[in-house]
């Protein structure tokens, strides 16, 4: 069970992973030594698995296409969906793999430079696999919010007065 201080520490880190232990000490009231040890322990235990950067490609002239591929598969005797998912996650194009409830079994997130790249990946690499029964590809057209961050409209926040009592 995480203590309230540790929950707070993880929360602040999840907002900004660039903060130093000293920055975090100021913001939490914990000692920098404690924070360093705790972060090391979380890294070793794979609680913290990566320090990420969320990029809004819509702001750049870079073409980047993301798609959700829903896949229906034949589960395998003994390993169910695990071996199949294991195989999928080796493809570098596939950024995430989830076992889902509902009409499809697995949901994968795929990134490519354009729609053609993704279509080719699905037709050439995924669909021929004998475990796959069917696929459904859905492209992301616009990102409004991701990982709790609003991508459009944040700059349109209403103006506050310069000073109030």
């Amino acid at each position: 069970m995480l203590s309230e201080e540790d929950q707070r520490l993880l929360h602040i880190l999840s907002l900004d992973s660039r903060l130093t232990a000293e920055d975090l000490a100021i913001q939490t009231g914990l000692s920098a030594d404690y924070i360093k040890k705790k972060i090391k322990q979380w890294e070793d235990d794979k609680v913290i698995v990566k320090y990420g950067t969320l990029i809004n490609y819509d702001r750049l002239d870079e073409d980047k296409v993301t798609a959700f591929i829903d896949v229906k598969v034949h589960p395998q005797r003994g390993s169910g969906y695990d071996n199949i998912a294991q195989r999928f996650r080796k493809f570098p194009e596939i950024k995430s793999v989830y076992l889902m409830s509902g009409d499809f079994d697995l949901c994968m997130i795929i990134e490519g430079n354009n729609m053609h790249d993704i279509a080719q990946f699905v037709s050439d690499k995924l669909s021929p696999l004998d475990v796959i029964e069917s696929t459904q590809t859905r492209f992301i057209l616009r990102r409004y919010k991701q990982d709790g961050i609003e991508f459009h409209g944040e700059e349109e926040r209403p103006q506050r007065l310069m000073m109030t009592p």
């Binding site: 602040i12 900004d16 100021i26 939490t28 506050r160 007065l161 310069m162 000073m163 109030t164 009592p165």
Partner: protein, 386 residues
């Protein structure tokens, strides 16, 4: 045309913040730490509830005292979180912000010439509302060496036999100071011995960090003589919705209700709907905001201390009140020169009463990025002067 004005209206001083507002408004790229309101939008569940109610056509008056469901929910909240029991039928009044509750209390309690004890520094409206009601204002010095906690000796010095009302505001604007139950007990005894009615403005009670606020009405013999004022503006980020409330003895509340019904009629219904939803399902959003303020509070206190200014640790509200005397500047000079040189807007401590001299008020209801930039500019300014 000034001859038509009453002497009270003519002589009422404008808020000390106004001048800086006007000055800052003429400049570009100013970073302001001058805003006494949350930088968060009202939690969506509350806004959505108000939109839905409008779609259903709920656009009419509520009862003068406010929507009975909201009054009941406030009573439940106060009983659960503050150990205070009020009857929603006649001991709660929904007002247009806590500001209206303060004004109503003054108008219901004060006859011309009555004295009102007001801590100095404190929120700009207290003295003005008291004066508008015809009161004689007696400032009670709050001292930095006591972390701006009201001391009974200072209360005694300011007291005269015409005093009828004492205003308290903890957690405090502008200092961020708090008072514990032990700190408040002698004040309660004083109020009882001198037959004072206490207007306790507890609008910042939910914004407190690492301590449990003590509602003044919970102290021995204080329920009858306390008007507990609060509202939704600060903790629920609802400043523009203007919903406050006051709880107290029905005799006092009935008089305030009469003034309210002849002047305001009732608080706006859509804002009351949003407030009701806040009490029912806004708790987690409120907690997240409090956690975020706490984080920023630590950054700002540390920032001021690192630049060599004395800054006691505020445990409530979202203000810091650093001591700037080491720069050799008065509060007004500091705020004005800082604005002109570094384009950072802060409020001089004297805007909150003469005892605010030597301090500035900085709000930390801003993003970490804005706070860091403002602190860096202030540090640059201070470095040249110490």
């Amino acid at each position: 045309m000034k001859q038509y004005l009453t002497p009270t209206a003519r002589n009422l001083k404008p808020s000390g913040i106004r001048r800086f507002f006007d000055l800052a408004a003429t400049m570009e790229d100013v970073i302001s730490l001058g805003v006494g309101e949350p930088d968060f939008s009202t939690p969506w569940v509350m806004t959505e509830a108000a939109i839905f109610s409008l779609e259903k056509g709920q656009t009419m008056y509520t009862s003068n005292a406010g929507n009975i469901e909201l009054r009941r929910e406030i009573c439940k909240y106060m009983a659960k979180h503050q150990g205070l029991t009020y009857n929603p039928d006649n001991e709660i009044l929904i007002t247009v912000g806590a500001s209206e509750a303060i004004d109503l209390a003054m108008r219901a309690l004060i006859s011309p010439g009555d004295g009102v004890l007001i801590p100095d520094p404190s929120y700009v409206s207290y003295a003005a509302c008291a004066e508008l009601a015809g009161a004689e204002v007696h400032y009670v010095h709050l001292r930095a060496e006591h972390e701006f906690r009201l001391q009974v000796e200072d209360l005694q010095s300011a007291y005269t036999p015409n005093c009828k009302v004492l205003i308290l505001s903890y957690p405090n604007n502008p200092t961020g100071a708090i008072m514990t139950r032990e700190d408040l007990l002698p004040i309660a005894r004083f109020a009882s011995e001198h037959d004072l009615i206490v207007i306790s403005d507890e609008i910042y009670a939910d914004l407190s960090y690492g301590y449990e606020p003590t509602p003044f009405a919970t102290l021995p013999y204080m329920w009858n003589r306390t008007l507990h004022v609060s509202g939704f503006s600060k903790a629920y980020a609802m400043t523009g919705w203007r919903i406050g409330y006051v709880a107290g003895h029905s005799d006092l509340l009935n008089a305030m209700l009469k003034i309210h019904q002849y002047t305001i009629m009732c608080a706006p219904i859509m804002a009351q709907v949003a407030a009701l939803e806040g009490l029912r399902s806004g708790e987690s959003a409120k907690k997240e905001m409090v956690m975020e303020y706490d984080r920023r509070r630590r950054i700002v206190v540390n920032g001021f201390r690192e630049m060599g200014l004395t800054c006691f640790e505020p445990l409530g509200a979202f203000y810091v009140f650093p001591d700037i005397t080491v720069t050799g500047l008065s509060s007004e000079q500091f705020a004005e020169e800082l604005l002109k040189e570094e384009k950072v807007a802060v409020v001089p401590g004297t805007a909150f009463g003469p005892c605010g001299e030597g301090h500035i008020r900085c709000s930390y209801a801003y993003s970490t990025q804005q706070l860091n930039e403002a602190l860096s500019r202030i540090a640059n300014f201070v470095k040249k002067r110490i």
